[in-house]
């Protein structure tokens, strides 16, 4: 019996040793270097989440449309600019929570982002996958909602699945699919919207990149409440320039949608880039590590 047990122990230990040697021979595949410099990409989110215990402050600003040319300096001095100020905090390595407040509709948004997978250098995992969700609370006076007002009318929800890949040293691309729901909309407008998007970053110097995005709200009859789509939301095109420093990311861009909260753009954007409805905007982020 003793001999039998000893034989088993020897086999098990040699097997364990063999596995150990195998693991040594195959070092752990690490996440790729910086697929994106920031968690933001013009109006979109990236799969990137800052290091744990990092607080991020962001100011996002959109000017008016360029329609009026020099009379309001291509929208820079147009009335109705939209501004959002927000804070994000990375609780864990791949988990971030955030809050922001936007001038348009006085949206208060509460968000969460979770990176499920990070792309690895030897393609063990070929893409990064993240989920972003937020709940918006419309902060305008209740008279906006008419006579049958309920507190829940203010709520809107946005959920997005993001799949990204760092293609090479200078190019990173993402696709996304989103679902938007508004508890209350005008009578002819649907409550739900599915949209898809494509965006990316092309780095041209160690600190600077070109950004681009194209988001398309879909007209899907299967989830529509009406036979015809009244004022369907328009695609959101954006092209920008990103500059990254140790603690800041700056975006200067031209884009179509006037909203900053993503569900607003998916549901209500009426600006049409094919008709020249474009506007300047910028974002500034500041990071503090604790």
């Amino acid at each position: 019996m003793k001999r039998y047990l000893l034989s088993i122990a020897l086999i098990v230990s040699s097997f364990t040793l063999a596995i150990g040697q195998n693991e040594e021979a195959k070092p752990k595949d690490k996440p790729v270097w910086a697929p994106f410099e920031s968690g933001y990409l013009i109006d979109n989110q990236t799969t990137v989440i800052q290091s744990p215990k990092t607080l991020e402050y962001i100011i996002q600003h959109k000017f008016g449309t360029m329609d009026n040319g020099f009379s309001d300096l291509f929208g820079l001095y147009a009335p109705g600019a939209n501004i959002r100020m927000g804070l994000n905090y990375s609780i864990l390595k791949n988990l971030q929570i955030g809050y922001g407040i936007t001038r348009l509709n006085m949206y208060n948004d509460f968000s969460v982002k979770y990176t499920i997978f990070e792309q690895t250098r030897r393609n063990t995992i070929p893409v990064a996958v993240a989920v972003y969700a937020n709940m918006g609370v419309d902060g305008r006076n209740k008279e906006v909602y008419g006579l049958d007002y309920k507190g829940s009318d203010r709520f809107s929800y946005f959920t997005q699945l993001i799949v990204g890949r760092r293609v090479n040293d200078w190019l990173s691309l993402q696709v996304n699919a989103s679902f938007t729901h508004y508890n209350k909309t005008d009578s002819l407008i649907d409550h739900d919207k599915i949209s898809v998007g494509f965006n990316g970053r092309a780095r041209f110097s160690p600190q600077s990149s070109i950004l681009f995005q194209y988001d398309i709200p879909l007209k899907i009859q299967g989830i529509a409440e009406h036979r015809e789509f009244t004022n369907p939301s328009k695609p959101n095109l954006g092209v920008g320039w990103e500059i990254r420093t140790s603690t800041h990311a700056f975006h200067i861009y031209v884009s179509t949608a006037d909203g900053i909260v993503p569900q607003h753009n998916a549901m209500f954007n009426q600006n049409d880039w094919t008709k020249g409805d474009l506007m300047f905007g910028f974002s500034i982020t500041r990071l503090w590590s604790f």
């Binding site: 270097w33 910086a34 215990k53 040293d169 110097s205 160690p206 990254r244």
Partner: protein, 139 residues
């Protein structure tokens, strides 16, 4: 009376102007670094890892360039606002006098105006990528 007053005033102003040329304009030099022994003898486990070259440069440009300049000579745009001279990282004699571990301590742990980067450059491999890139600045 007036002539004498103007002569004395001119002499004083002239003296002050000349003295201005004698006042040192250089930034203060930081004292010698007190580096714990564990860092002095710390081994660079990523030495000669060519795969880190590009990323080391990117990290340097992102975190270090603003003070230390494009080539490490301490002439970045923020350097002029520093109280202490950030030094010349490209200086061969200086580079030869510090070990990789000491360079790691100076770059990642820091002191005074040199910030701590432990929470900004979290991964050990990334930290050594910066150190390796600093070595390439040597002239």
């Amino acid at each position: 009376m007036n002539n004498r007053f103007f002569s004395v005033a001119a002499l004083l102003i002239g003296t002050l102007m000349l003295m201005a040329f004698m006042v040192p304009q250089e930034k203060k030099k930081g004292g010698p670094w007190e580096i714990p022994q564990e860092y002095v003898t710390m081994e660079n486990t990523y030495k000669d890892d060519a795969s880190l070259e590009k990323y080391g440069k990117q990290l340097y440009m992102k975190h270090c360039r603003s003070c230390h300049g494009n080539t490490g000579e301490g002439d970045g745009p923020k350097a002029r606002n520093l109280e202490y001279d950030p030094g010349n990282l490209a200086d061969a004699a200086w580079q030869d006098g510090v070990s990789d571990g000491e360079l790691y301590y100076m770059s990642i742990i820091g002191r005074d105006e040199m910030p701590n980067y432990e929470s900004k450059i979290v991964d050990e491999e990334e930290r050594w990528a910066v150190i390796n890139y600093l070595r390439t600045l040597k002239k």
